[in-house]
Subunit: 350 residues, 2 copies
Amino acid sequence: MISIRNMLRRSLVLASLLLPTMLVAACGGSSSGSENGPLQLADMGSFHVGGRDVTISGQPTRDLALSPGGITVRIDPNGTFSVEQAYVQYFVPASRRSILPILFMHGGGMTGVEYETTPDGREGWLNYFLRRGWPVYNVDAVERGRAGWSQTFEGAPIFLAKNEPFERFRIGNGAGSYTKRELMPGSQFPIDAYDKFVRQFVPRWTTTDDAALAAYIAAIDRICPCAVIAHGQGGQLAFRAAEARADKIRALVAVEPAGVGETASIEKIKGVPVLALYGDFIDQDPRWPMIKGSGLRYFDEVRAAGGFVTVIDLPQIGITGNSHVMMMDRNNADIAAAINRWLAERGLWR
Amino acid sequence: MISIRNMLRRSLVLASLLLPTMLVAACGGSSSGSENGPLQLADMGSFHVGGRDVTISGQPTRDLALSPGGITVRIDPNGTFSVEQAYVQYFVPASRRSILPILFMHGGGMTGVEYETTPDGREGWLNYFLRRGWPVYNVDAVERGRAGWSQTFEGAPIFLAKNEPFERFRIGNGAGSYTKRELMPGSQFPIDAYDKFVRQFVPRWTTTDDAALAAYIAAIDRICPCAVIAHGQGGQLAFRAAEARADKIRALVAVEPAGVGETASIEKIKGVPVLALYGDFIDQDPRWPMIKGSGLRYFDEVRAAGGFVTVIDLPQIGITGNSHVMMMDRNNADIAAAINRWLAERGLWR
């Protein structure tokens, strides 16, 4: 084995002298491996960012065994705690085609997992953009996933029952549709994997947006300039982050944003190109026409102030059947391709 | 550009006909890229596994705006919820050198993040083993990180104050050492990154071991046969998992396990080769001599029953200065190398 390895090493020296262009082509060419084959990464890793120290005092201690039968430890709820950080996992392709990285912001009750493998096992948007030569930074916001959560949050968190995403994300046909498993006609959601999908939801507070924003800004200060892809609740946080860091967000892709920026702050972000995407079945839904309507009004204001906003109604470009979680719908690659085209038109990918 | 690309493609056809061994060597040879250069992955993704449905009833509803200024939604705490699943992220190298994958189990209050990038930005054990041709499956156990947590857990969770890992993980020299930042002499912990390290802790319950074990077993049933690398609290869960799935765990590496298996169940797991690792400064600590002592007694019992157990006291093989979180200590690669050698001796890597 060793002599064969040495032979290979000698071949490598020869090859790297004689055939550099061949090797570039063979090892991945213009992107991070092929669009289906192996992925070639220059780097991958993770870090936490942002947060603050908080000191708690005056609470009683308690004695607990940390494992059944284990040694008792005195638990002191007092002290100085590190709270309200975000978690970022990143993947850098060996061969880049983008000018900047993408920073992913997830939706409400979710984590960065929403951009990973789809519930039915297909590749998600993280892999899609990585394969096309984008460095990708996937965030778990404050309180979610690997960011952890804190005893300092106000109020109780929300837990989503299994029927709620079905009925509120336009997978099913409105209230009561989960019981009957009644899908929107032509739904692209991978319904056979619905039970797997709901496992990715995590508890959500409604009082932590400011903390989430602060940690997102800390992440942006570390990662960007970048393009942001944000979903649902993350959309509103992305607009607020862009108001604070317009110089660092070179493009904002808002996937059915739950909220948008403030009219009073439009001057701050009118230089940030915006792509807003909306899926199917919005007119039939009790909530989504209002959410989309306030988005469209805001985008008109941004345009009137001289900003650049593209709104894509997916059904209008022939992409139909999409739920609020379009990044995991069956046609998720078609939507990612539309986003990538728009980013390329902005000069951020070639 | 296009004609150059076409030229490269033609070169590639030529190269793949003439120089297959050169290309194998140049693109990664016998492992997943070099040990320092690009990483080549056949696949990467994630999934949730395990868990159960639970139905809650009789609780009052509340109305909440999910985002500031957003539309009010009626929050119903009743319904059927998906609870107690685990999260698994996996990376499969393009070129394998191992017979089986590695499944990582994290320690108490931590998540799979402990095996990723170290707090001071070096590569962790996940990358280490991936680069050496092991498929790696990194779990967030029930209640931690991207696994989410559930309103069904009993009792209140524990939040670790910043001083606690310092004083309990043998980074500092015992109680009160954090205030003075008094390190163990010769400590290998990357102390300048301590504030980054504590951001990775998440709330921990003391009542969820059975749920965590059930989801680990579901993960094992999906992923294994495999080798398990488990840390601290995860060590005890790994021994319990091995008692349930001795046929699927072909090697168990227990890094300072907080607990071990049951004497009554030794017959079940005596066929599973075990490597237990212990770091430095244990004699000076008020808790660790007892934890290690009960581990060593158990390992003697396993050996007496005909099992194969290797215990490595790191200082005895010249690896000194290690804390309880040795996977992120400065010499983490030396310890990973010792683990890999042991796995190779078991015939699981070459």
